[in-house]
């Protein structure tokens, strides 16, 4: 696997309604272990994955936010979210648990273009 393809993972699912968010993270970490550059884009309800102060204990499930804070250890530093999705959910960057780059919706196309492979969860 000498080929280091860059990967954009588009996250469109809320953190706890399904296991999509968790599956996405597992794929991101695996690809990072294989030294593939991984970027994450959060759209729609996916922005809720980034929220500060998640309390999933009552659901007997792991805290998604805690796993996101581990991303820099895997060299995953490029997290993108669109300003319109934040606004739609009534959020500001201070409400998020990890540093993100805020982009305009029209920039999504160029983000997709900049990566070799796109996966969606």
């Amino acid at each position: 696997m000498s080929d280091k393809k860059s990967i954009l993972i588009i996250n469109q699912s809320a953190p706890y309604g399904s296991n999509k968010a968790r599956e996405s993270l597992d794929v991101a970490l695996t690809c990072a272990i294989f030294e593939m550059p991984v970027s994450l884009l959060f759209i729609g309800d996916g922005v809720l994955q980034l929220l500060n102060g998640q309390q999933p204990e009552a659901l007997q499930t792991k805290k998604h936010e805690a796993m996101l804070t581990a991303l820099p250890m895997y060299d995953i530093d490029c997290l993108y979210v669109t300003s319109s999705d934040l606004k739609q959910h009534g959020l500001q960057s201070e409400d998020l648990a990890v540093p993100v780059k805020i982009v305009e919706q029209k920039q999504i196309a160029s983000l997709i273009q900049q990566h070799d492979t796109v996966l969606t969860y």
């Binding site: 597992d26 794929v27 969860y121």
Partner: protein, 130 residues
Amino acid sequence: MKFSLVVHSSPISQQSAATAFRFAKTALEAGHEIFRVFYYGDGVLVANSQIAPPQDEINLPEMWQALAKQYDIDLVVCIAAAVKRGVLDDNEAKRYEKDAANLAAGFELSGLGQLAEAIALSDRVITFGA
């Protein structure tokens, strides 16, 4: 072109599982190559040999098996997703002390590294059932 597919959808309840199959078949018939199909999430249920759909419904496990045999495709099932849904090969059945293995012939249990490899070695990776 060399494609790999990622299938997230259940073969029983979601249309996109059948769409993935039709995409693979059409691509192969058009002369393209399918390097690997990676089943993830509920998509792993396709490898349960105990699935018995009614006779007037399609049987996706059998359809994939036949296609893989004809074109020599790698059908890889995510082991973590499979084991927690009760899709086990002999090794996993023994490891978790279950009564029987039920992984259908032609499918292989393996890790997410196989998805990373498919991404590295394919021209296009297409996701079904995101």
